[in-house]
């Protein structure tokens, strides 16, 4: 008896508090047709389970209360009944078939990724996402923007703690967007709960998923496949804009890319490179080598005072551009542009007491990074 009372508040909570934000107990209502269908499936199977639970536990607790020795209950002697046993094999079978039909229908629709209006390639990296708008010359990385002080409890945590990025994925409302997912290193998984889109990003594979976002707004999710140290720190943020605003964003993003290319032709002073290098370092390198360049012994080497960052500049440029095979060190030549590469290499050679005085220009990098 005590046990059943114990269960009731939980079931009550599940039913009565679907909207409470801090104590959210259920799936997001969903902001696409597929997400709403999935939530409906979820609720149907949930209530079927509750119904079965009420019947089974009801009989069980009825027996516990009434067929106890202390009440003088005498044990009966039946121990099999073919009819009943066949019945409770067939009834669950029927329930399962009833459940499988709508599930199959939804799944078939989820797998139809044809006739997309826009293709976005999503590539997982340790620990960031890269978004490439195929056919639009737009290509950028999306990195966690929550300040380290908040994570280390040195500053008050913001409203979207750990669910905010520097550059969100921007999508047009009402258009079918197809995602092509892959990975550069380990397996990641790209998930936006409101879209009910979760698909693994696997090196060597291209997976497909799709969404038709309905309402403009900001949608947040996370990487859901353990991908190493900062698995908990690579959120997904999607900003859905009305078509006109999206077109404007596309045009702006394209001209920004052109300005970036032009910047690579300018002359950069050591101070300018150092300033930019620090920003690049903190978003691209500090996750492993740490903001103070000390690394993590045994896992990620220190840069402060390291032979590579203080020795000949050639091998330093080489390892940043091409990575180191068989380790977590990625080939940043494919990820950063010439200015950022020049800046971050210059920064590493002059920060934390690595006072080499060296600087490398974007033009030199562009030449090496052909």
């Amino acid at each position: 008896m005590i046990k059943r009372i114990w269960l009731l508040p939980w079931i009550g909570l599940l039913v009565s508090l679907p909207a409470a934000a801090a104590w959210q107990v259920n799936l997001s209502p969903g902001s696409t047709e597929i997400a709403r269908d999935i939530r409906e499936l979820h609720m149907i199977i949930f209530w079927i389970c509750v119904a079965i639970g009420v019947v089974v536990f009801g009989v069980m607790f009825w027996s516990i209360i009434h067929h106890r020795k202390s009440r003088g209950a005498e044990a009966h002697h039946f121990h099999e009944n073919t009819f009943v046993e066949i019945l409770w094999t067939l009834i669950p079978f029927g329930i399962l078939i009833a459940m499988a039909v709508p599930a199959t229908a939804t799944l078939i629709r989820m797998y139809d990724s044809t006739e997309a209006d826009l293709d976005v390639q999503i590539t997982g990296y340790q620990w960031k996402w890269r978004y490439q708008y195929l056919g639009h010359d737009i290509d950028y990385f999306s990195v966690l923007s929550t300040p380290r002080e908040q994570i280390n409890n040195e500053a008050e945590k913001g409203e979207h703690y750990l669910l905010e990025v520097d550059n969100p994925l921007v999508l047009p409302a009402g258009k079918k967007v197809r995602f092509l997912l892959t990975s550069n290193d380990v397996i990641h998984s790209w998930w936006v709960p409101d879209f009910a889109v979760k698909k693994d990003a696997i090196p060597g594979f291209v997976n497909e998923a799709w969404v038709i976002p309905e309402e403009p707004g900001i949608y947040r999710g996370q990487c859901t496949e353990l991908c190493g140290k900062d698995h908990g720190f690579m959120p997904v943020v999607v900003e859905v804009k009305p078509q006109e605003e999206f077109d404007q964003w596309l045009a702006d993003a394209r001209s920004a890319a052109e300005a970036q290319a032009a910047a690579a032709e300018q002359d950069w002073s050591l101070e300018q490179l150092m300033e930019r290098g620090e920003q690049v370092y903190n978003s691209a390198c500090a996750a492993c080598h740490l903001p103070n360049g000390q690394g993590v012994p045994g896992a990620f080497p220190a840069l402060a005072g390291s032979p590579i960052a203080t020795g000949d500049i050639g091998p330093h440029i080489d390892i940043v551009l091409h990575g180191k095979a068989g380790t977590a060190m990625q080939a940043f030549g494919a990820q950063l542009d010439a200015v950022d590469l020049a800046a971050v290499i210059t920064y590493e050679r002059n920060a934390w007491g690595n006072d080499t005085g060296d600087s490398v220009s974007p033009q030199q990098i562009a030449e090496l990074n052909q």
Partner: protein
């Protein structure tokens, strides 16, 4: 030569009791001694893995990083999983099989006693090797207990090689243990103990042993492929070399899914022993119970890819694995219905083992419900790799497998020690565990549905409240297990004398032996009518 032979014969004739000193435990071939070794070892591992779980829960008590860094957090989740699966649950069931199978089928000992010794003594070395990785440069394995490639190969810390060899040793131990169980059950049954008279615990272990023999070599294969990728230049799982990271998951889960039934079928057996005893009524539907275990075992080989619904399986694959997985609900349902029907119109009492068994039926069924929800492939896209999955498998493993082991210990301790357990302390342990386990794991359903991924050391603010609740529950549950240790020690040291039958409603050959059971179980085979 002749004299040596004579001496040996003389020796065996007089060797009725245990040897003395440490040699008794090192060289023993006695099923009870080895069973005890397994059980103590698994208790030690349970407390070790539990301490790691508490560290995880302490870090997750509040958002932000407080106690540990993400690298170490990942090592803790990995080691917690590996230790609980391979060090706590599996050896505990092998220990129970060692103690109880010969006594339940009327045999003097296990069929292969020397191998029995070896299969136990491999384990401490395997785990010493695995735990030593925590102190190595680069740290312990940090890729989760499912060790997906290429995170566990190209991107793994150097200690992964020690992990691979530790897994190999555990696999050898399990296979030898399984061979022993099968040989014992098939060959050493007392006259008249036909297969369809076997106690259900014995049946469940016979089927489990076949599962072990089928899948432990698959696990050995997959870790060997990892070893080749890491050290010998192959590219089984390395896409850059033409390999396939998803192949790893197929091979792993072809082992992994039967493995989860390896951890629950013996629990079914235990519960099917305990409920009839305390309901004072024969188990309802014995034959259908046996067939249900058999069907679950066969189906376990056909459902592995339901762990992989988001890797990009073709539609036909998704549908096949969804349907096959849903089918498992049928035999599992039969088992639950049979247990309830056994209680129905019985004459129940509620001693500690029965309380654990009843909690098993309720909470395992809740874990089964969430399992059914996870089987619905479209919905699984929302559940996959969230705390909903963590809640699901902890419901079937903690109040499932672990509660059944606790129930078994309380049920058979009087037979093992000759002393009754302290009922009051046993009940306190039960209620604290029951409350603690639900406070810990029930809120995980909620945070999972709300969108919290598993295996993260820090989380967004909307998950904070339920995480605090879960952490409080974890400490209640974890600390109350010290009561279990206390209860076991008290029971060994003294207590009311146990009768041979121990429990009023107990039936079966083990209850015909004196309490405590003699060192050699049945030197004369009993006759089963």
């Amino acid at each position: 030569m002749e004299s040596t032979l004579g001496q040996n014969l003389g020796d065996t004739h007089h060797a009725h009791g245990p040897a003395s000193g440490i040699g008794r435990w090192l060289f023993t071939t006695n099923h009870k001694d080895i069973g005890s070794l397994y059980l103590w070892f698994s208790l030690l591992m349970f407390l070790t893995g539990g301490t790691m779980a508490l560290l995880i829960r302490a870090e997750l008590f509040q958002p932000g990083l407080q106690l540990v860094q993400p690298e170490f957090f990942n090592q803790m989740t990995t080691m917690h999983g590996l230790i609980m699966v391979f060090g706590a649950v599996m050896p505990a069931f092998v220990g129970l099989a060692n103690w109880m199978v010969p006594m339940m089928i009327g045999a003097p000992d296990m069929a292969l006693p020397r191998m029995n010794n070896w299969s136990f003594w491999i384990l401490p070395f395997a785990f010493a090797m695995m735990i030593s990785t925590l102190f190595m440069d680069g740290g312990a394995p940090n890729f989760g207990w499912t060790f997906y490639a290429p995170l566990s190969t190209t991107y793994a810390p150097p200690s992964v090689t020690f992990f691979i060899f530790a897994i190999h040793m555990m696999g050898i131990s399990s296979i030898m243990g399984a061979i022993n169980v099968i040989a014992t059950i098939l060959n050493l049954r007392a006259p008249g103990m036909t297969m369809m008279k076997l106690p259900l615990f014995v049946w469940s272990w016979l089927i489990t042993a076949f599962l072990l023999i089928a899948v432990m070599p698959v696990l050995a294969g997959v870790v060997t492929m990892m070893l080749m990728d890491i050290h010998f230049g192959t590219s089984f799982f390395n896409a850059a070399g033409g390999g396939d990271p998803v192949l790893f998951q197929h091979v792993f889960w072809f082992f992994g899914h039967p493995e989860v039934y390896i951890m629950i079928l013996p629990a079914f057996g235990i519960i099917s022993e305990i409920i009839p005893t305390f309901a004072r009524k024969r188990l309802f539907g014995y034959a259908s119970m046996v067939y249900a275990i058999g069907s679950i075992a066969i189906l376990s080989f056909l459902v592995w890819a339901h762990h992989m619904f988001t890797v990009g399986l073709p539609l036909a694959g998704e549908l096949f694995f969804m349907f096959a997985t849903m089918l498992i609900a049928v035999p599992t349902g039969v088992k639950v219905f049979n247990w309830v029907a056994t209680m129905f119109r019985g004459s129940m009492t509620f001693e500690t083992p029965m309380l654990f068994a009843l909690a098993f039926v309720v909470l395992f069924t809740i874990g089964g419900f969430s399992g059914l929800m996870l089987a619905i492939a479209p919905a699984d896209f929302q559940y996959h790799d969230t705390y909903f999955v963590v809640a699901h498998f902890h419901y079937v493993l903690v109040p499932g497998a672990i509660f059944s082991i606790m129930a078994a210990a309380y049920y058979w301790l009087p037979k093992w020690t000759g002393h009754m357990i302290n009922e009051r302390m046993g009940k306190i342990h039960f209620w604290l565990s029951f409350v603690g386990v639900n406070i810990t794991f029930f809120p995980m359903h909620f945070v999972g549905l709300a969108g919290m991924p598993r295996r993260i050391p820090d989380y967004a603010l909307q998950f904070a409240d339920f995480n605090s609740v879960a952490s409080v529950g974890a400490f209640i549950f974890g600390l109350s297990q010290l009561l279990f240790v206390y209860n076991v020690i008290v029971c060994i040291r003294g207590g009311a004398r146990a009768t041979d039958r121990v429990w009023e409603g107990a039936h079966g050959l083990e209850w015909t032996l004196p309490s405590p059971a003699p060192y050699h179980s049945f030197s004369q085979p009993p006759v089963v009518k």
